[in-house]
């Protein structure tokens, strides 16, 4: 894939470039601030881009705003946002355009190289990927009755669905069969009264909308 990397920390940027190249991706641009990220994306239309949240010139949520700006011009341009911190309200900004092809992960997740590359591929393919910590905050916050009606296993499946995992990925992670996961998913959708949807990012949005209350 053709990838753009945006991070102001040279150490991490070089590390990412190396990791991506070693795994067969081509880094077409590497930039270190918000405005250059926006112009690079608009000029090069990459298959996916990776952007850090805190960058110059503002040193606040620059990367987040840059990502939103890019997707206003290039709707659904796949972007994976990496950050030292994850906050629910930041995720909201990224999901607001409901166009899919978005990811929001803690930087540490890069350490699990295979998972990270898998997330990147899913975002590039139009999927939505959310950090377990964001999902965890959402699930903890809503201690409401319908959630209580889920079995512990179903709650686990719900969390993984919210992170953007496919049924197959969930099955692999929980070490159960695809069929078992499908059954759990069906139960969850029935119990929570959610509209079933095959499209991955719409399924994530449905689950998140539910969790936000």
């Amino acid at each position: 894939m053709r990838v753009i990397v945006a991070d102001d920390a040279v150490l991490l940027r070089e590390g990412l470039i190396r990791l991506l190249s070693e795994n067969g991706h081509e880094v077409v641009a590497a930039v270190g601030d918000g405005p250059s990220f926006v112009s690079a994306c608009l000029a090069l239309t990459p298959d996916v881009s990776i952007v850090d949240v805190r960058m110059p010139p503002s040193h606040t949520d620059e990367g987040l705003r840059a990502a939103v700006t890019v997707r206003q011009s290039l709707r659904g341009s796949p972007i994976l946002v990496l950050s030292q911190y994850v906050e629910v309200s930041y995720a909201d900004d990224l999901l607001a355009d409901r166009a899919g092809a978005i990811g929001y992960l803690l930087k540490d997740r890069v350490a699990e190289v295979a998972d990270f590359l898998d997330a990147l591929t899913r975002v590039a393919a139009g999927g939505t990927v959310l950090d377990p910590e964001v999902v965890g905050q959402l699930v903890v916050r809503r201690g409401r009755a319908p959630l209580d009606s889920l079995t512990p296993r179903e709650r686990e499946v719900l969390s993984l669905m919210a992170e953007g995992k496919s049924n197959t990925a969930i099955a692999r992670q929980l070490v159960v069969t695809d069929g078992a996961v499908e059954k759990h998913v069906k139960n969850i959708f029935t119990k929570l009264d959610l509209p079933p949807d095959e499209e991955q990012h719409r399924r994530v949005l449905a689950v998140l909308t539910y969790l936000r209350g």
């Binding site: 805190r54 606040t60 949520d61 030292q84 911190y85 906050e87 629910v88 309200s89 930041y90 803690l106 930087k107 540490d108 350490a111 699990e112 905050q137 959402l138 903890v140 916050r141 201690g143």
Partner: protein, 428 residues
């Protein structure tokens, strides 16, 4: 009992009628005090200055100042009543133990506040007379006017007598006369509280500036010194805690990480399987180090606060709290300075941490509101109580932090609960 770390006094709000009573008493009886002060002080000054050529003059002046001081103390009580906040008494200069009798006698003369007392005693008279006249005129005209209908009969009304109604062209009838007086009475009654309040305040404000100006300034300086001390203490505590946290957490983990990687390097040739396991462990260490660092930097300056402001930051805080939080933020909060936002954030953060650790609460509420130059932050929980601002508790550092921002922290936490932690922070 609430434990408060408090600075300054909020003005007392009295009922309308009560304040009118206080102002009237101040204006009417205050004249007696003013006349007494004026006569005694002028006499004392004249006598003292006249006798300065003999040593006795100094003694007379000193005595005059002591009298002025006593009268000033009485006046301060009245001022406190009118202005609704105490008029503080300055610390007068005391004679030193080693002083001879002459120096002792003269010590009132060497205190600048003594001269201010004298000045206040003299210039108070015209204002006292003005306040007295206003009070008497308004009460008399007001009460007399509205009751005029009741005693009009007792006045002689010769035919050539010209009343106000005649000059206003309202006719010469008894009805016109009574109505004119009633209307005047009503006007005076309606303006009574404002006229009396205005005259009393004019007198009290001028007197307060002279009698308590210095004390007030000193009070403020002491307050600022305390605030600085609290800021310094809060900073030292925070830095020490930070150092300890870095030492116990990330530093240890990085050392361990270096060890593990060293071992892995050795194992690579001899035992690749073991090397893989070691590296796996090292990865785990890095993840935990990053978690700890994240928690640490959130504790220093939470990034979301700088990025998104107080509301989002509190929302995120509530989202991470193990005990469910009911968050209510007033919509009129507006723009707050970074320091107020940070302090408010840490009040909530510390209070919630405390709740989660010690209270065994099932639910907490966080309320943030703004009113009259103050931001109020209240955190309550339904736990077992017993929270304390005493040293060694997490709340002690918080009290310092709030005081450093010029605010007050109140902890109400009886044994058995519930706990309420309330911070008031000044904001422009």
């Amino acid at each position: 009992m609430p434990q408060t770390s408090s600075l300054g006094h909020a003005p007392v709000k009295r009922g309308f009628i009560r304040q009118l009573g206080v102002d009237t008493v101040y204006s009417i009886f205050g004249l007696v005090l003013a006349v007494m002060s004026f006569t005694l002080i002028i006499t004392g000054l004249a006598l003292g200055i006249g006798l300065l050529i003999t040593v006795i003059g100094f003694a007379v002046l000193a005595l005059t100042m002591l009298i002025a001081r006593g009268l000033a103390d009485m006046h301060r009580i009245g001022i406190g009543g009118v202005l609704g906040r105490p008029s503080p008494r300055p610390a007068y200069r005391k004679s030193q133990p080693g002083d001879g009798w002459f120096r002792k006698t003269l010590s009132p003369l060497r205190d600048p506040q003594s001269w201010l007392d004298v000045l206040a005693g003299i210039i108070d008279l015209p204002f006292a007379i003005f306040a007295f006249v206003v009070a008497v005129v308004w009460w008399a005209a007001g009460l007399g006017g509205i009751t005029y209908g009741l005693w009009d009969w007792s006045l002689p009304h010769p035919p050539d007598n010209k009343n106000l109604n005649d000059f206003l062209g309202l006719g010469h009838s008894a009805a016109a006369r009574i109505w004119t007086n009633e209307v005047i009475g009503v006007i005076f009654v309606l303006t009574l509280p404002f006229a009396i309040r205005g005259a009393a305040m004019l007198r009290a404000i001028i007197a307060r500036a002279l009698l308590s100006g210095i004390a007030e300034m000193r009070h403020q300086i002491v307050g600022l010194q305390e605030q600085n001390k609290a800021a310094a203490s809060a900073e030292v505590t925070a830095l020490r805690r930070l150092e300890r946290d870095i030492h116990d957490g990330p530093q240890q983990r990085l050392v361990r990480l270096a060890m593990d990687l060293g071992r892995a390097k050795q194992q690579l040739d001899s035992d690749p399987v073991a090397a893989r396991a070691t590296i796996e462990e090292a990865l785990g260490q890095t993840r935990e180090t990053l978690d700890e660092l994240r928690a640490l930097s959130r504790g220093i300056a939470p990034p979301i606060l700088a990025d998104r402001g107080l509301e989002s930051a509190l929302d995120a805080l509530a989202g991470r709290n193990p005990v469910p939080v009911d968050l209510a933020i007033a919509p009129n909060l507006g723009k707050l300075t970074a320091s107020v936002e940070t302090t408010a954030y840490f009040v909530v953060a510390e209070a919630l941490t405390n709740t989660a650790k010690h209270s065994a609460a099932q639910a907490c509420t966080v309320t943030v509101a703004r009113n009259a130059g103050l931001v109020g932050v209240v955190v309550t929980d339904d736990g077992q109580g017993g929270a304390h601002v005493a040293k060694g508790h997490g709340l002690a550092g918080l009290a310092d932090r709030v005081r450093a921002a010029g605010g007050t922290l109140t902890v109400t936490s009886p044994i058995g609960g519930p706990t309420e932690i309330c911070a008031e922070l000044p904001c422009e």
